[in-house]
């Protein structure tokens, strides 16, 4: 279970997180929605320890994320970055098997390659893709390689940062299905940031909306359309009029 309690974070004069409280139950898929620049990525990076909050606590299964064995902590996570964040200098299979080629999870090279190819197949990519370099792939393929890398070491917790941004609707649908399947099959806890409402409905068990540095609304996906929350309603229907200012 991931718990954020009164988390604050500012960058200079800009107060991005102003007291975030949120709980993500183990084995569930939480989707974070909210306008651009509302601090969704900062929140996600705070959980991973990539950003240190100014105050508040973040715990994973009761353990504070800022203390303890960092490697062991990060070994529990997988993350799909918005732009893929693939390493240009490495071929695709080494990107996917990055964690399996070094550190505590190190395997023999042949075994790591085999696992990488299996994960590539899992995200719908052919084995021939394994020896290509990221620059030789399309945006959608890079995203899928990023997804394969995120699940390669079968992590307990997976984060997806805007998994369908920049993809065509068909590819976005494929990625959504993959994420749902992976979360269901692996029993992982998932946290996804997205603006794409079709993704929200496809991926989420629960939804939280971040606005003005706090969680404005959270609840199960079934209540998304009947919440009665004006912020949520404006966001999910994409209205220019409402409590959320269009110019921020």
């Amino acid at each position: 279970m991931i718990t954020l309690t009164d988390v604050h974070k500012a960058f200079g004069p800009k107060h991005v997180l102003q007291g975030v409280n949120l709980t993500i139950e183990k084995g569930t898929s939480m989707v974070i929605i909210g306008g651009s620049g509302t601090g969704k990525s900062v929140m996600l990076k705070s959980i991973l320890g990539l950003v240190v909050p100014d105050s508040g606590t973040i715990t994973v299964d009761g353990n504070n994320v800022q203390t303890g064995d960092r490697d062991a902590f990060l070994a529990r996570f997988g993350m799909l970055f918005q732009g893929g964040a693939l390493f240009d200098s490495l071929p695709v299979w080494q990107n996917v098997a990055f964690r399996l080629l070094r550190g505590a999870l190190k395997r023999p090279k042949a075994e790591a390659r085999e696992i990488a190819i299996e994960k590539l197949r899992r995200v719908g990519l052919k084995p021939e893709t394994a020896d290509l370099f990221p620059s030789e792939l399309s945006g959608g393929m890079q995203k899928r390689v990023g997804l394969a890398r995120a699940i390669a070491a079968e992590p307990e917790i997976i984060f997806f940062d805007e998994p369908t941004t920049g993809l065509d609707p068909i590819m976005a649908g494929v990625i959504n299905e993959l994420i749902r399947e992976i979360v269901t099959e692996m029993g992982a806890t998932a946290m996804t940031i997205t603006h794409d409402m079709s993704s929200v409905r496809a991926i989420a068990d629960n939804i939280a909306m971040l606005h003005d540095g706090v969680i404005k609304w959270s609840g199960p996906v079934a209540k998304l359309d009947t919440s009665g929350d004006p912020y949520l309603d404006q966001f999910i229907h994409g209205r220019a009029e409402g409590p959320i200012e269009a110019v921020r």
């Binding site: 320890g49 970055f81 964040a85 693939l86 990055f98 070094r102």
Partner: protein, 261 residues
């Protein structure tokens, strides 16, 4: 009153900012060195950096040294002629190359080629979230990116300097023999007889220090790159400028330490 205080305040702020930047660079360099004694180590990254920084810099360092040695021979011959001291060309070319021009020009050329390349590569990795990705994959970017490059540069630049010294002396030899009428054997004998081991060693030590500076600046500015293409461009420029200025400053300090007693 504010007419007097405003410039002083601006000067103070600039000095404080410069001191803070120096402190950050020093801490970064110190942290890099501490990783040398703490596993894990990434041998593959080190070997790759060694090839990129050392082997692939050979042509530019070699050509620079060749032309510098030749020009130095012409200058010394021309200047020496004023005192009927043309015969000092081989010895002065040798000492000039191994003590000063080899390490300094080699260092500056490697700074231009390598510091820029490292800063641009790491800066791009930062803006495309590859550095964050490394961290989430339980890999410390300081260990994976910085240490291999700094170690490789510290070891490779002295070798480049040694090769550059030899090529520079050869450049002087070619010009001396073909253009200035020196006897081949006498030129070589004068070169060898005049050089002392410390002349060469001091140049190699300078090379190691310059290598450390070059890679540290490249990595530091890359890791602290701003967003977007402009941020990476600024980081690259800053890395080359900082590395070049620090090389010249360090060269003066090392020369003072090595040769003034």
């Amino acid at each position: 009153m504010s007419l007097i205080l405003s410039p002083l305040a601006a000067l103070g702020a600039t000095v404080l900012a410069a001191l803070a930047a120096m402190g950050r660079v020093a801490l970064y360099a110190f942290e890099t060195v501490t990783h040398l004694f703490r596993p894990p180590f990434y041998g593959r990254e080190f070997l790759s950096a060694l090839v990129q920084i050392g082997w692939l810099s050979l042509p530019v360092v070699g050509l620079t040294a060749l032309f510098t040695g030749g020009a130095l021979a012409l200058q010394i011959y021309s200047g020496g002629a004023r005192f009927n001291a043309e015969e000092v060309v081989p010895s002065i070319v040798a000492i000039g190359m191994v003590r000063e021009l080899g390490p300094v020009l080699g260092g500056l050329m490697v700074a231009a080629r390598v510091a820029s390349s490292i800063a641009a590569e790491i800066g791009t990795m930062k803006v495309t979230e590859q550095i964050d990705a490394l961290t989430t994959l339980s890999t410390n970017p300081m260990k994976y990116l910085t240490l291999p490059r700094v170690l490789a540069a510290t070891l490779a630049v002295p070798v480049l300097v040694a090769v550059g010294d030899a090529i520079g002396i050869m450049g002087g030899y070619i010009v001396g023999v073909t253009r200035l009428g020196f006897n081949e054997a006498a030129y070589l004998k004068n070169t060898v007889d005049f050089l002392e081991l410390w002349d060469v060693t001091s140049g190699l030590i300078k090379g190691a220090v310059f290598g450390f500076i070059i890679a540290t600046m490249g990595c530091y500015y890359g890791m602290n790159s701003g967003r977007g293409a402009q941020g990476v461009g600024r980081a690259t420029k800053a890395a080359v400028v900082a590395a070049s200025v620090l090389i010249l400053a360090a060269n003066y300090l090392l020369t003072e330490a090595f040769f003034t007693s």
